[in-house]
């Protein structure tokens, strides 16, 4: 049972306060939270659940806004966190983004939304479709209409039928001029390459994202060519469980608009599309560094937005890095960011240079971790393939669009080839 929700700006100012129960939560709790937050070295990494002297706090941080919820009683922690995430999502959806100004300009709508999303500390409706019917989102069309017709209320006049319908996620009867449905496979590859150059972990977390613009009450089935590779799946509430259990077919009545139909995990992949080979050689207080990047397994599509990022150890006094492709920037906190973009055909991109170590230090004794980013359009690296999508109970054949995208998630390389003699030989 949540007792109060606060929205804080990125300077700690209370932008919004919504008391939920008879226990009034004093604003000073935000002060406590902010002090706590400022006292952390790495403030973006404070836990999502914290105990203050008076309350237990859930906090979710999005786009400069802290969503803070307080409770004094035991409750399922994920309920608090999930709810705050949902609030953030719904607000983003409604306001067409999320930032301090948007919240401040539309605070009345935010209040209205919170009013419908939670009552007396218990979450009620968080389905964007239903909310949309109760409270019309502020958009340009509405504003223009308001000016023209003189009716500027953002409330709909009817109550959503869906609150009582058996398909609560779907607007009762949406109408679209063009019937279209888009299915995207979006995958993130997490990989760890250890100090010996071995691929110790390679996993894909993927989502099936759907944008449905279909009229009426369509019934869809989506099937895949190779479901056996999936390790674990999670579904949107609209997916019927039985067909999946029996035939691995997704059968569902979609919500209107964008939603996440399914998420899945594929583990133990054997290779990565690219390689990154860092090499570090220390000698007499200097360290030669070179990093080589190239394609290992050609995915058949262009690898885009390639980048390599690593933190220079604190014992590095200065660095002098050059690259044959892309740009190198040393950001704050000694983070070195090498933006490569696309891999050129004629040469392998590399970065090289010299690091000057602290006086008294002969060789580098902390090895940086290289974090890699990339994006590959048109391919799902897990190998998951959509077989077909059938749309039932629609008079006309809708337009169906399919896309795939893979990007790097937590892709890190701890490997650093070293040409020094191994230390254990000494002992």
């Amino acid at each position: 049972m949540l007792q109060c929700i606060f929205l804080l700006s990125d300077s700690g100012e209370v932008m919004l306060e919504k008391q939920l129960t008879g226990h009034r939560v004093d604003r000073s709790i935000c002060g406590w939270f902010w002090d706590h937050y400022l006292s952390q070295d790495d403030a973006s990494k404070i836990p999502q659940v914290i105990a203050s002297p008076t309350h237990y706090l859930f906090q979710v941080f999005r786009e400069g806004i802290t969503f803070l919820a307080c409770t004094q009683v035991e409750m399922p922690p994920l309920m608090g966190i999930e709810f705050l995430c949902r609030v953030a999502d719904v607000l983003t959806d409604y306001l067409g983004g999320l930032n301090e100004d948007l919240v401040k300009d539309n605070f009345v709508i935010v209040y209205e939304l919170l009013d419908e999303m939670i009552d007396n500390g218990f979450p009620l409706t968080t389905e964007p479709n239903i909310l949309r019917e109760m409270i019309t989102p502020p958009n340009l069309v509405n504003k223009v209409l308001g000016v023209v017709t003189g009716n500027s209320t953002n409330m709909s006049n009817t109550l959503p039928g869906a609150t009582a319908s058996c398909v609560p996620w779907r607007t009762t009867d949406p109408k679209h001029a063009n019937n279209e449905i888009y299915v995207d496979l979006v995958e993130e590859m997490d990989a760890i390459i250890n100090r010996d150059g071995m691929l110790v972990k390679c996993e894909i977390y993927g989502e099936v994202q759907v944008n449905s613009q279909l009229s009426g009450f369509p019934d869809l089935t989506l099937s895949f060519a190779n479901t056996s590779i999936l390790n674990d799946v999670r579904f949107h509430p609209c997916v019927r469980f039985r067909p999946w259990e029996l035939h691995q077919i997704l059968s569902f009545v979609p919500p209107d608009g964008e939603f996440k139909l399914m998420s899945y995990r594929v583990k133990n992949l054997k290779s990565t599309p690219i390689y990154v080979k860092p090499q570090l050689t220390s000698e007499g207080g200097n360290c030669r560094i070179s990093v080589l990047v190239g394609i290992r397994n050609d995915p058949g599509k262009t690898i885009d937005s390639l980048s390599v990022q690593f933190q220079l150890p604190s014992c590095v006094l200065s660095s002098d890095l050059t690259t044959n492709h892309g740009t190198v920037d040393i950001l704050t906190n000694k983070i070195c960011y090498w933006s490569i973009g696309r891999i050129p055909k004629d040469k392998a991109p590399s970065i090289s240079g010299n690091l000057v170590l602290q006086t008294g230090l002969e060789r580098l004794n902390v090895f940086p971790v290289f974090q890699v980013g990339f994006k590959i359009m048109g391919v799902a690296l897990s190998g998951l393939q959509i077989d077909k999508l059938d749309v039932k109970s629609l008079p006309n054949r809708p337009y169906k669009g399919f896309r795939a995208l893979t990007r790097a998630g937590e892709f890190e390389i701890r490997w650093a080839m070293s040409s020094e003699p191994q230390q254990q030989n000494i002992s």
Partner: protein, 847 residues
Amino acid sequence: MPRPSHPSRFPSSPSPSPSQPSGKGEVSDLKLQLRQLAGSRAPGTDDSKRDLFKKVISYMTVGIDVSSLFSEMVMCSATADIVLKKMCYLYVGNYAKVNPDLALLTINFLQKDCKDDDPMIRGLALRSLCSLRVANLVEYLVGPLGLGLKDANGYVRMVAVIGVLKLYHISASTCVDADFPTMLKHLMLNDPDSQVVANCLTALQEIWSAEATNSEEASKEREALLSKPVIYYLLNRLKEFNEWAQCTMLDMVAKYVPSDSNEIFDIMNLLEDRLQHANGAVVLGTVKVFLQLTLSMTDVHQQVYERIKAPLLTLTSSGSPEQSYAVLSHLHLLVMRAPILFASDYKHFYCQYNEPSYVKKLKLEMLTAVANASNTYEIVTELCEYAANVDIPIARESIRAVGKIALQQYDVNAIVDRLLQFLEMEKDYVTAEALVLVKDLLRKYPQWSHDCIAVVGNISSKNVQEPKAKAALIWMLGEYAQDMTDAPYVLESLVENWDEEHSSEVRLHLLTAVMKCFFRRAPEMQKTLGAALAAGLSDFHQDVHDRALFYYRLLKYDVATAERVVNPPKQAVSVFADTQSNEVKDRIFDEFNSLSVVYQKPSYMFIDKEHRGVFEFSEELGNLSIGVESADNIVAAQIVGATDNDLLLSTEEKEESTVSSSNGSAYSAPLYGGSSLASSLSQSELAVSSSITPANPSPTGLSLDDLLGLVSSPAPAPSSSPPSLKLNPKAAMDPATFQQKWRQLPISLSQEFFVNPQGLVALMTPQILLRHMQGQSIHCAASGGQAPNFKFFFFAQKAEEPSMYLVECVINSSSSKAQVKIKADDKSTAEAFLAMFQSALSTFGMP
């Protein structure tokens, strides 16, 4: 995205800070404008009203007090515009509590709106009406609520059900008298709208749990909620419910006790697909049901672990990063309970560079736990990579983890090599941690001494600064003096720098090491030993001095005996003690899917009534800073607090609290009638102080007199109540036993009294109080807190009897009050002990 770290002008109090507009002028301006608009029916009025309302609400949000506009806002509220209405409801809901008289003005239009044609307006009005939370307006709620529950529209019924719960918290009797709980029960079992059913469930759970303490019937009703027909009815409708209602439901199902295993399997089959729900809270709720249902079926329980593993692992790696920590905490709990089942999933616990350290810490613990013969090599390889990590605390943790795995004796050979590599990394913290580990390892596996000592011998003691590491190095120098050629000389130089060694631990170790070395290599060590003993004897630290003296006398007595005492043949240590007791772990497990898992503490340790002393205080302080709260509100809030807590207590504890509270009420009558005290104390304080056990009725009068005397005079004469009780001055109890006992025993007495000002001054250093109380044979088990709130747990034992007294004492130095709760094995002497405790506390700080 990094957050800016510059200090902010954060409004920590509700009063506007100087940098904000004071709002005074603006507010009176708004007042004027609102007044002009109030009666106007000109076209466009609503638009200008809307702008004004928006301004008012935005002031309110910033923290400017706009309560003075109350009557104007109400006057303007006659409108058909629903957004205006909503803003008005919001405003009224915020300020009604502070303006109970003016709130009456709003009743009229809210009641009218409750009968509007539009169900949305009916619902909103009803919600706002119930959210006013003004005690003297409850009579106006009953009618609209009754209508709302019977409304044709589900939205209105849903609002009305929660409205009943709100009414219950404002005035329980009104709610029960209007027979609302019965109506809710009917709705719960019959309403077609799933949200109405879900809300009924939440409301009824709360109402009946709170009522159960007073009425037999309510406690039966509460049990009926967990009966087979109700649970089955709800389970069959589960999929109609929205995700949040499903969470509530699952929480309830977890408490249900099925009659046989068929039922268990039926429920699990029905719920299995919930494990694939997109909402993590639903998944976790289902996991809890599965675990709870199968607790007594060992085989199935294990299969459940296998089944829930994949969804939990997916939740940690997918979804939002915010969720993964909470899920990981739960996973951590399961891994610790059944590490074998997760042995093949160790790669999931590998730390990623970007993860926050609290996540890495959990993962390290899990990696340590799941290590077994088949995966140790990979895990240790992985852990070794973290040792070179940029994040120093994590690097340290991971070295410790390697050590722990080594002590579990899998593949020790490989691990020792790794540890020795750590020693060669030439990073001070790595060396320090590794030294401590090598020491522990040698205590368990003396057979490795040869390899280790060769490497340890190369480490210069000058490069080791941390006391723990230095002590470990010195221990090894002493223990393996015969294998390290230069041990005597290293020790010698350490003894020479005796004065520069700040840590007494290191000096103690040094004395022992010098002794051990002496027995093996006497000629080289004689001089050093003399120097060390001399330095030790003149050491200002008590223990160091005593040990030096002890060694000196031993040596003087007989060198051979001394060797037998100080350096006997060692036995390898087989098991090192575990840190968290199994009982505590089980307790946390029972609370799966709750905050306690995230904190790794059972909730009684951080949220229980008894453990909430500091908590309640600060809440009061919070209230003070808001402004004046009417007395009934405080009482109401306390009642709510109590019911909330009851939801959390396990059944035995609930029975306990039933007993103590009914005792309280039995004794409140004579207190009211018999003494003038009642009038001087507020009702709430009375409730606290009157929970006296009826075990021995005769001394009650006496204690009342005490109470009177103590409350009226802030600094009572210490001799006012001569203690008749004798206490054991050497009573002993370890914290774990204390905790257990504290949980088992009911409160015998609780009281609040003033602390004398001298005592408060002396409280600046709480240790003095502990010493003072110890002088009176009352010992401290634990203490904590910061000014103005201090919390102490004391215990004492009756002389020549095993009977114990446990005390929780919360001292608030700003209100100079002490709140004492006593639990006693022998309740009849609790009074006498309380008197003793009081007199002990009252002499505190006196010269």
